[in-house]
Amino acid sequence: MGIVSPGFQGRPRSSEPALPPGQYLTQDFPVLSAGPTPKVPLDSWEFVITTETGAEYRWSWSELMSLPQETPKVDIHCVTRWSKLGTTWQGVSLDTLLDGIDTDAAYVLAHSYGGYSTNLPLDDLRGGRAWVAHTFEGGDLPAEHGGPARLLVPHLYFWKSAKWVRGLRLMSTDQQGFWETAGYHDYGDPWREQRYQGD
């Protein structure tokens, strides 16, 4: 007779969804900010992608809204250890914005109204994994959460999802952004707990 009965199904699965290591679940949406909230009127808002050769591609607010819209439902993970699951956004995929842009760049410095910046590999903005998001849970993205529009790159720690995003600088070499120069990780994968340089 075996020591495992036929009815043994293993340990019951936890009802808690899986979280990256070191994270806790939150139901609210904490506001984190490194400075005052910039007020960006929609009639002067623009998003610009600058390639490594200096070519610029610009979208006004109305041009952004006329592009195909997507509604990603994603989990977000802040390096300050909170995670929020199943958040619903609306925005334009970076695949759409990067389509037709001629570049050999490997890195991106995302920059924002208010002076914030963060660096990412360009590949991480492709493949249906990144958006310029303007709507959160069916409403306009509040300014304290990055409205009118923020970068949304949910597979990386949320400091990479630059609030008040203004543009992307495509670069051949990596250039650190605001928190990266202060010691945070260049990539920031929450599942590998890449919080700080050297993690």
Partner: protein, 97 residues
């Protein structure tokens, strides 16, 4: 810009005591952006963030960032051209060379 909640720079005293033996809130710092000189205690400190961000009360530029990991503390002062720390008058000092 709209206002965001921030604390005054005196809150930096405790975290910076991990690095320095002196109370830096009384030190004077010069903003690299606008040139204004003022006490560290007068900075506007944004603490609901992955680190502490001290901004110039005059021009709002970042003068100081402090990040504390489990293994290290990093003080980034690239927005500050100098820090002048008050010293006790009764201590011996090298004087002019």
């Amino acid at each position: 810009m709209t206002d965001m909640s921030y604390l005054d720079g005196n809150m930096l005293d405790a975290p910076l005591r991990e690095l320095f033996a002196v109370d830096l809130s009384g030190a004077m710092g010069r903003c690299e952006n606008c040139g204004v000189v003022g006490p560290v205690g007068g900075l506007r400190v944004y603490s609901h963030a992955p680190g502490l961000v001290g901004r110039c009360p005059t021009c709002s530029q970042v003068m100081l960032r402090f990040v504390r990991s489990p293994a290290w503390a990093r003080l980034d002062l690239r927005g500050t051209t100098f820090l002048q720390v008050p010293m006790p008058l009764d201590q011996p000092h090298p004087g002019p060379m």
